[in-house]
């Protein structure tokens, strides 16, 4: 573990030292990150069930001290895995930014970002946790700034604002907890003198604080703005793993505190809302990176559904329910990291060659970039939870967990869990619609803009390798589900109940339902063989020549033009029509005269901005307008302010 951290540190410093040799610095920096991640993947995976500690010197004023328990190991594994793919990808992708900024600096920040996430997970006391937490935010902020246009600057400010709010809440939660247990060390946290009320307050602070980073509803607004604004290799890290670090925080707090059953229901409700709203807003997007970001909101919702069930299980003292809930949640953490990383890398390849984020003018790219198209298709199928890929397994486990919880007593609990199952099912149906749209509008059909299509070409080798690392992940975590479940159970049984999750080669839920993805794959493959046999039989027939003729698509007898084909917005048109009470889209029809095509715009609004944020922003800007009087630029006056502040604090100190 020391070696992994040290390698990232080395990567960071080597790349910043070499920053004058711009391209070389990037190549070396990202390669070191890749090596470090590869070592990390094996190290954390092989030792997943054990504890590990790390101390750096003892002579500091506040000696740094890190510890990894199985849960931390699991998250470290996820972080290293996505970092591996993303850093291999970045080796050539970063060239895109050689004119916009220094690649050396980018590699430095990239390494620092991964390292700070690993150290947040490994921190063993409040101080270092908060330091690395804020470092993670700051570094990701700087990384977003690589695309410095007006839009991304606005996005970063919103991101920083919400991250500050979240950071403050987490800090408050930590301090309250530390005060009641009299120690800042995680290991010494104890909850004996917490009243239910103060425990709930701490939980709510931590939940909202971490939730703001995770992008759960209604604190999700920054996510679809900031993630697309970042360079794609960084988006993959942010959406793939940074938001998972927040999930790690929520789990930690739930394990420290004396959980209550309504916390579980709250997490569940927020999860169901995030999942549904995330996918609904994703459906209306034209910007494919923003769309993927909204899907992160959705998937965080799905993860929270699993965790909520787990927390409910802990609270009602049913350890088996807790373990299946956490199993589903953690499995989805791994899966979402894998396929969302993959999708963002794929989106990055498209952006790299087409330089546009608007999918309405793309099309037919599968012919130009077949490997990227394949990788993206696998990512899309995994995120829509299609069997036998990985997303399916974790959603199946989440369903089983919620089913089991719904069997319990209490009408309200039963309704809460069954409605969450319905929400998850509906989310699944909508996600299919959404990813059909993304994949086929970008990669399928006829090119909508000839110029872009002609210039497009397959991404360079390192980018393809980076994506295929995760494609292999999607298959492996799907087909090798029993191994993954075995490993996650090692993590889960340290705090939940233990039950045999793998029975004779199939995954089993405590209820006794079983599923086996390899078997599904076998059935699908054997069924796939059948039509081929039919075709081969018919080819032997003398009248058939084995040639395929290519023609224009049918257009009711008119001459076909690529403009006739479906684009992204009409594909979801009927859905947007019936959901207009939520989207509040204002459709604009712009007539540009007889000889030009009519322009039609229809953009859904995120109404939550007006409900939750606009009032606060108004108050803050009104207050700052009032406060302007204090800032008159006279340095003597500022000295007076400092003095006054000092006196006040001395006074307060004296009184206390």
């Amino acid at each position: 573990m020391e070696m992994v951290y040290a390698l990232y540190l080395l990567g960071a410093f080597v790349s910043i030292i070499l920053y004058k040799e711009n391209r070389v610095a990037g190549k070396i920096g990202f390669s070191i990150a890749a090596v470090a991640s590869a070592i990390g993947v094996f190290h954390f995976l092989l030792s997943i069930g054990s504890n590990e500690t790390l101390e750096i010197g003892g002579n500091f004023l506040f000696h740094p001290h890190f510890a990894l328990d199985p849960l931390g190991k699991f998250f470290s594994f996820v972080i290293s895995l996505i970092s591996l793919a993303s850093s291999i990808y970045s080796i050539q992708y970063a060239d895109e930014y050689s004119k916009k900024g220094s690649i050396g600096v980018m590699a430095f920040l990239f390494n620092a970002f991964i390292l700070s996430m690993l150290l947040v997970v490994a921190s063993a006391n409040v101080f270092w946790f908060m330091v690395f937490w804020e470092l993670m935010t700051l570094v990701s902020y700087l990384l977003i700034c690589f695309n410095d246009d007006e839009k991304s600057l606005k996005a970063t400010v919103i991101y920083m604002g919400i991250a500050h709010l979240g950071g403050a809440m987490i800090m408050a939660a930590f301090l309250l907890l530390a005060k009641s247990s009299g120690s800042m060390e995680f290991a010494e946290f104890n909850i004996t003198n917490l009243t239910p009320l103060s425990a709930s307050i701490i939980f709510l602070l931590a939940f909202v604080g971490f939730g703001s980073k995770a992008g759960m509803f209604p604190i999700h607004v920054w996510l679809p703005k900031a993630h697309p604004a970042a360079p794609s290799n960084v988006s993959a890290l942010m959406s793939g793993i940074m938001i998972k670090v927040a999930i790690f925080g929520i789990i930690k707090f739930c394990l420290w505190l004396p959980v209550m059953s309504w916390w579980g229901i709250l997490i569940l409700a927020i999860g169901a809302l995030s999942a549904l709203l995330g996918v609904l807003y994703a459906l209306t997007q034209h910007d494919y990176k923003a769309l993927l970001a909204y899907h992160s909101v959705e998937n965080i919702g799905i993860i929270l559904l699993g965790l909520g069930t787990g927390v409910y299980g802990l609270a009602t003292h049913s350890p088996v329910l807790a373990s299946i809930g956490f199993l589903g949640g953690l499995y989805h953490v791994l899966n979402h990291a894998t396929f969302k990383g993959l999708l963002f890398l794929g989106a990055g390849s498209v952006l790299y060659t087409t330089h546009t984020k608007d999918m309405e003018i793309l099309g037919g790219l599968a012919k130009k970039m077949p490997y990227t198209a394949f990788a993206f298709l696998i990512g899309a199928m995994a995120i829509t939870a299609l069997p036998p890929l990985n997303g399916f397994v974790s959603e199946w486990l989440t369903y089983q967990a919620m089913l089991q919880a719904a069997l319990g007593d209490g009408v309200l609990y039963r309704l809460a869990f069954t409605l969450s199952i319905v929400a998850l099912a509906l989310t699944g149906a909508l996600a299919v619609m959404c990813f059909v749209k993304v994949y086929s509008v970008i990669f399928g059909g006829a090119p909508r803009d000839k110029k872009i299509f002609e210039k497009a070409k397959e991404a360079p080798l390192s980018m393809i390798i980076g994506m295929f690392v995760l494609v292999v992940g999607c298959f492996a975590f799907g087909l090798g589900a029993t191994t993954v479940v075995d490993n996650i159970m090692q993590v889960v049984h340290t705090f939940g109940g233990n039950y045999t999750a793998v029975k004779s080669g199939a995954i089993a839920s405590p209820l006794g339902s079983i599923v086996s993805t390899p078997m599904i794959a076998v059935i699908l493959m054997s069924m796939l063989a059948l039509p081929f046999i039919l075709i081969v039989m018919s080819i032997n027939n003398k009248t058939t020549k084995n040639t395929v003729r290519e023609t224009e698509p049918w257009a009711c007898g008119f001459k076909y033009s690529p403009r006739m084909q479906m684009t992204a917005s009409p594909f979801t048109g009927s859905l947007r029509k019936i959901m207009d009470w939520l989207f509040r889209a204002d459709a604009k029809v712009i007539d540009q005269g007889y000889f030009k095509p009519v322009k039609y715009e229809n953009h859904a609004k995120d109404i939550w901005w007006n409900i939750f944020y606009a009032p606060f922003i108004k108050i803050v800007s009104a207050c700052s307008n009032k406060a302007q009087g204090f800032q008159n630029g006279n340095s003597n006056l500022y000295v007076l302010y400092v003095l006054a502040a000092l006196c006040i604090f001395v006074g307060i100190g004296y009184l206390i």
Binding site: G364, A366, K367, P370, T384, A385, L386, P387, E395, W396, Q400, L403, L407, V411, R414, L415, T418, I421, V422, A425, G428, V432, M433, V436, K437, S440, F443, G444, G445, P447, G512, S513, S516, M519, I520, I523, L524, M527, L530, P531, L534, I535, S538, N541, T543, T544, T547, V548, T551, P553, W554, A555, C556, P562, Q565, M566, F571, G573, L575, I578
Partner: protein, 307 residues
């Protein structure tokens, strides 16, 4: 291994017999519409055989997703059918595939392939068909899942083989009000999923759900047609195996009975098909799905309050 063998046998049997029922349905439909119709009930076999001998044409903008979609559609629906516990109704380990969530997500896989292929063809009609297929999914999925949740909660498992066994032996069943109400709503969902009027009209290809078919020809078209027929059998089979599972334990007898039962439902659907009115897709759904959704919710609430 034994289970897989029986699964494949049951799929092969249904594929072999399904066109016969389709032929019968076509004759009845023709009679109801005062047309002459096909000469005998083997017309669908002849159509398929002829299609397989034809040369292929594909839209030139499409890539391999469109070109191999018929195979994928066929495999997916066949897998759905394999997941219906007919011939292996006593082997609970068959639940590794025969699981309600597996069935639902195989349906999602079908819709995904269908949608991507329809958009990939570049044809405007095919894409509208793909879009509508997704909308149908959005409307049907909640109803279907609510009904199945009630069943799963009553049976305390999602293993379809076990559920079927319990219903067969009267451990759960129509004596429970929630179960009975759920069966009504699920019947609607199954009817819609099987792609019939007023939610779909397979004869008017260029404007509705099956718009995709307008871009396929020859063997591809035959395979897609077969896939759609198999899907109807699978959906009816799902309903039957949960709500009307009475059948033999001997695999061969069970298979014969199953095919006859689903075939009767398949043909009977022609009557609803032809006697019912036609709506615009959204209007029809708004009218009816809200009603059915309420029915489904009633069954959920009945379960929650413990009736």
């Amino acid at each position: 291994m034994n289970t897989i063998f029986w699964m494949i046998i049951q799929v092969l049997a249904v594929i072999a017999i399904a066109p016969l029922f389709d032929g019968i349905a076509r004759i009845i439909r023709a009679k109801m519409q005062s047309r002459v119709g096909p000469p005998d009930m083997f017309q669908t076999y002849r159509d398929l055989a002829k299609l397989f001998t034809r040369n292929k044409t594909v839209p030139k903008y499409s890539h391999w997703v469109f070109r191999y979609a018929p195979y994928m559609l066929f495999a997916t629906t066949a897998a759905m059918l394999a997941a219906i516990p007919v011939t292996y109704s006593t082997n609970f380990n068959g639940g590794v595939i025969s699981d309600i969530f597996v069935l639902i997500y195989l349906g999602a896989l079908f819709r995904f392939v269908f949608g991507v292929a329809s958009m990939d063809s570049g044809s405007p009609f095919a894409a509208i068909g793909g879009s509508r297929e997704q909308m149908v999914g959005v409307f049907v999925e909640p109803v279907m899942i609510i009904c199945l949740i009630v069943v799963m909660l009553l049976a305390k498992t999602s293993n379809l083989v076990e559920i079927q066994y319990m219903v067969k032996h009267g451990e759960i069943g129509y004596q429970i009000p929630a179960f009975a109400v759920a069966s009504i709503a699920l019947l609607w969902a199954v009817y819609v999923e099987s792609g019939r009027n007023p939610y779909d009209l397979a004869e008017a290809e260029q404007e509705l759900q099956e718009g995709l078919l307008s871009e396929y020809c020859a063997g591809d078209l035959a395979l897609s047609h077969m896939a759609l027929t198999i899907k109807q059998f699978a959906m009816i089979g799902l309903f039957l195996s949960v709500f009307e599972p009475w059948n033999f334990e001997n695999p061969i007898l069970a298979l014969v009975t199953f095919i006859v039962k689903t075939g009767v439902f398949y043909v009977a659907a022609v009557f609803i098909d032809n006697l019912g009115p036609r709506y615009k897709l959204l209007k029809g759904f708004k009218r009816e799905s809200s009603f059915v959704l309420i029915v489904a919710f009633i069954s959920l609430i009945l379960y929650a309050v413990g009736v």
